[in-house]
């Protein structure tokens, strides 16, 4: 059923239409709201579970293997249930709001971080027509959510009444807001080529075999798109606060930065979004540059043998995302951490000029080559 969904109509609208037909009424806003809720729940259920269980497990296992250790291996086969056990532990821990904390802000902060990290998933086109909400300004919405997350982190750092937390959240603001610039600018390169800001639309333009993907598009575009891809990847690392840009948490400097004072599930609500954000940024990178759900041979392109088969697209989408995700994990366990002024140097003096050059070059190429 899903395979025949019209690409333009969001999934929630389909559910609303189906509900209306079931009840026997015209689709009114109630049905649309229910449809949206169903989609949101579905995304959370489908995304939180693999992110929470898979992401954290992968990170720990991979870190273990890189460091010549075993990683988690006690709970369940190969330690697969370790994250679940950790979740249960976090849930059952005492929820401490210490004296001196600004309690309302302290409580609110994890929700904002959690929401903004997971809300990014609704615009991702998982398979042809598989975007839960096919926004016209998908990439714009996604970048805005990254900015929104910093608000939650500033609230956490400020309300914790801990100077290390404050310093961590200030680093976070400085870093993420700065890195939004190259991130946003370089994201415009695919937008210029595709002529749309919708992530589904951008994917559709890349239909076809590997040389149609934006990063290699027709050979000539690689001159622009490879640096653009690298800039986007590095900025994405910084926006997700991953090593070598993990300054806001900087274990050896700021202890744990903005979430030092959080315990139990409130800490868990900072911990999970980190992986969610990593995954969604990897997904957006794969959509913008690596052809999203298209396979390298063009079988899922229009006229290809697998065209419209939803699981075929999903497989490719997730494999590209996972490779990028894994590369982020391996990088963390390979590189030391930058210093705050070097982070700023890298952003404003390295990535931003390259991003600008990429943007201008893309515009010129677009003028002459398409």
């Amino acid at each position: 059923m899903l395979a025949v969904v019209d690409h333009a109509t969001p999934l929630s609208a389909h559910i609303a239409n189906w509900l209306a037909a079931f009840v026997g009424l015209e689709p009114i806003w109630v049905f649309h709201a229910v449809g949206a809720l169903v989609v949101a729940t579905g995304v959370l259920a489908l995304v939180v579970t693999p992110v929470g269980l898979g992401g954290v497990y992968l990170e720990r296992k991979l870190a273990g293997r890189i460091q010549n250790r075993r990683g988690p291996n006690r709970v369940g086969p190969y330690g697969l249930l370790q994250t679940l056990a950790d979740g249960v532990k976090l849930l059952s821990k005492e929820d401490i709001i210490h004296r001196g904390a600004d309690a309302p802000l302290f409580r609110l902060a994890p929700y904002i971080v959690f929401l903004s990290a997971f809300a990014g998933f609704v615009v991702l086109p998982f398979w042809p027509g598989g975007a839960p909400a096919n926004l016209d300004v998908g990439i714009f919405y996604f970048l805005a959510l990254i900015g929104l997350e910093t608000i939650g982190i500033v609230m956490a750092g400020w309300s914790s009444n801990n100077k290390w937390s404050l310093l961590g959240s200030m680093r976070e603001v400085a870093q993420v807001i700065s890195y939004e610039l190259p991130l946003g600018i370089v994201a415009m390169c695919p937008v210029i080529v595709a002529g749309t800001m919708s992530l589904s639309g951008i994917t559709e333009v890349q239909a076809g075999p590997i040389w149609k993907w934006f990063v290699f598009r027709d050979g000539i575009w690689a001159i622009v798109m490879v640096p653009a891809f690298l800039v986007f990847y590095v900025s994405g690392l910084a926006a997700a606060k991953r090593a070598p840009f993990d300054l806001p948490e900087a274990e050896s400097e700021l202890i744990a930065g903005f979430h030092t004072e959080y315990s139990g599930m409130r800490f868990g609500m900072f911990f999970l979004p980190e992986y969610a954000l990593m995954l969604s940024i990897s997904a957006v990178t794969s959509v913008l540059f690596l052809g999203g759900y298209h396979d390298p041979l063009g079988m899922s392109a229009e006229g290809g043998s697998m065209h419209g088969v939803w699981w075929w697209g999903l497989i490719w989408f997730f494999s590209k995302t996972t490779i990028l995700f894994l590369s982020q994990l391996i990088l963390r366990w390979t590189l030391p951490r930058l210093r705050i002024d070097q982070v700023m140097y890298l952003c404003y003096k390295v990535l931003l000029p390259i991003a600008m050059a990429c943007l201008v070059a893309t515009a010129f190429l677009r003028l002459f080559f398409s």
């Binding site: 460091q67 600004d102 400020w158 100077k163 050896s252 400097e253 700021l254 590189l335 705050i340």
Partner: protein
């Protein structure tokens, strides 16, 4: 901006004199990084539970945002009055206690005490025992330097090389365990000798281990030493020049990284170090400025090479003979006298000013903890650094709090 910072409850205690135990010297530091915006100063309490203070060091930081204006190390959290304990125990009973000073280079601590006492008591040590001491102390030094280098990487955010170095360290600890019976606290060196001889099998294992450490060296270098981020973080950061080192009596790898060729193993050889052929590496090395964090880190890696050389020579040239001076019994006590002998421990020069009145107990054992002297530079050197650089400074000085506080 300054208003908002002072209003936060986090900065509600801006007066450093109100914090218990803190006396800031009151000199205004001049930060290196130019500041356009004058903001309120924050007083941070770093430690004693901070992961990068390598123990229970407490540093009170006065910062302007990320720029450290003043760092005041407050020590004593691990103080056990080792010297008082030594005065109240017989000679042989006191030895296991000195292990607890620098728990990462425990054999060198034992040697520091034993050399002084032997000098004052006029004890001859058999040649074989001297060689065994050298082998074990150098093994201990390599282990300690591996730990220190890995720890420095960990402070910089690189976790993986730390565990790679720990792997080799673990093998070394096993070797020490085979001979001494302890993994960390050895109680191996006694007055007039050592407790236990090595076997030929052990010697083979030890030589193989030396090869393995050397084989893994390129791994550390590629992963950490030559990494661009690591170089940027540590080159030219927190420079400790030769004159500052002399002024503060900073010794060991920190002094040598500052370009001063002082190594007691060469300069005042003890325990047959004059028999071995080894170099004393001094800074500056390939990158950075003389005496910066990177050079101190590099100095330790270079010293590992030299120590491995010494271990090889000592094992190959191990003379036959006794391992323990027979005249020294359990009830041995030093005749009246005094001595001051220094030796080269992994973190600097350990020395003991030993006074005996001929009684059952030592009259006075004044131990010099090299970390104690080395950490004193923190106050001067940390001015104008960023917080991340302060961590680099602390990590590259490489202190052990057991020895700072004694």
């Amino acid at each position: 901006m300054s208003n908002t910072v002072s209003e936060t409850p986090a900065a509600a205690n801006p007066n450093p004199s109100q914090i218990q135990g803190v006396k800031l010297s009151g000199e205004r530091a001049v930060p290196v990084i130019p500041r356009d915006i004058q903001t309120d100063e924050l007083v941070f309490n770093m430690g004693p539970q901070h992961p990068s203070t390598h123990g229970v060091l407490r540093v009170v930081l006065r910062t302007d945002g990320e720029v450290v204006l003043e760092a005041q190390p407050l020590i004593g959290n691990l103080h056990r009055s080792c010297e008082k304990i030594l005065e109240n125990l017989t000679y042989v009973q006191g030895l296991p206690y000195v292990d607890r000073m620098d728990y990462l280079g425990a054999l060198n601590m034992e040697l520091g005490l034993v050399l002084s006492v032997e000098e004052a008591g006029g004890v001859e040590v058999p040649k074989r025992a001297q060689y065994l001491r050298v082998i074990m102390c150098e093994l201990n030094r390599v282990i300690s330097h591996l730990f220190a280098s890995g720890q420095f990487g960990l402070d910089m955010g690189a976790f993986t090389p730390f565990l790679y170095m720990f792997r080799e360290r673990e093998e070394g600890l096993k070797l020490l365990n085979m001979v001494t019976g302890g993994r960390l606290l050895y109680h191996y060196i006694r007055y007039g000798g050592v407790t236990r001889d090595i076997t030929p099998e052990w010697a083979k294992l030890c030589l193989a281990w030396c090869d393995r450490v050397l084989a893994h060296m390129p791994e550390y270098d590629n992963l950490l030493t030559w990494n661009n981020i690591f170089l940027n973080r540590s080159c030219g950061v927190a420079i400790l020049d030769a004159s500052t080192c002399m002024d503060f009596a900073v010794t060991g790898p920190c002094l040598r990284a500052a370009g001063v060729k002082r190594d007691l193993r060469k300069d005042m050889p003890y325990s047959s170090y004059e028999d071995f052929d080894f170099e004393v590496p001094v800074g500056p090395f390939e990158k950075g400025v003389v005496g910066d964090s990177w050079n101190r880190y590099r100095q330790r890696l270079m010293e590992i090479h030299e120590s491995l050389k010494i271990i090889r020579q000592a094992i190959e040239g191990l003379p036959e003979g006794e391992t323990q001076q027979k005249k020294i019994s359990r009830a041995w006590k030093s005749p009246p006298g005094e001595a001051y002998v220094a030796s080269e421990a992994p973190r600097g020069e350990i020395s003991c000013y030993f006074v005996s009145d001929g009684g059952k107990f030592p009259y006075r054992c004044r131990m010099r903890g090299p970390s104690f002297q080395n950490i004193a530079v923190l106050e001067l050197c940390s001015r104008g650094l960023l917080i991340g650089d302060l961590i680099a400074l602390l990590g590259s000085i490489d202190i052990t709090l057991g020895e700072v506080d004694r």
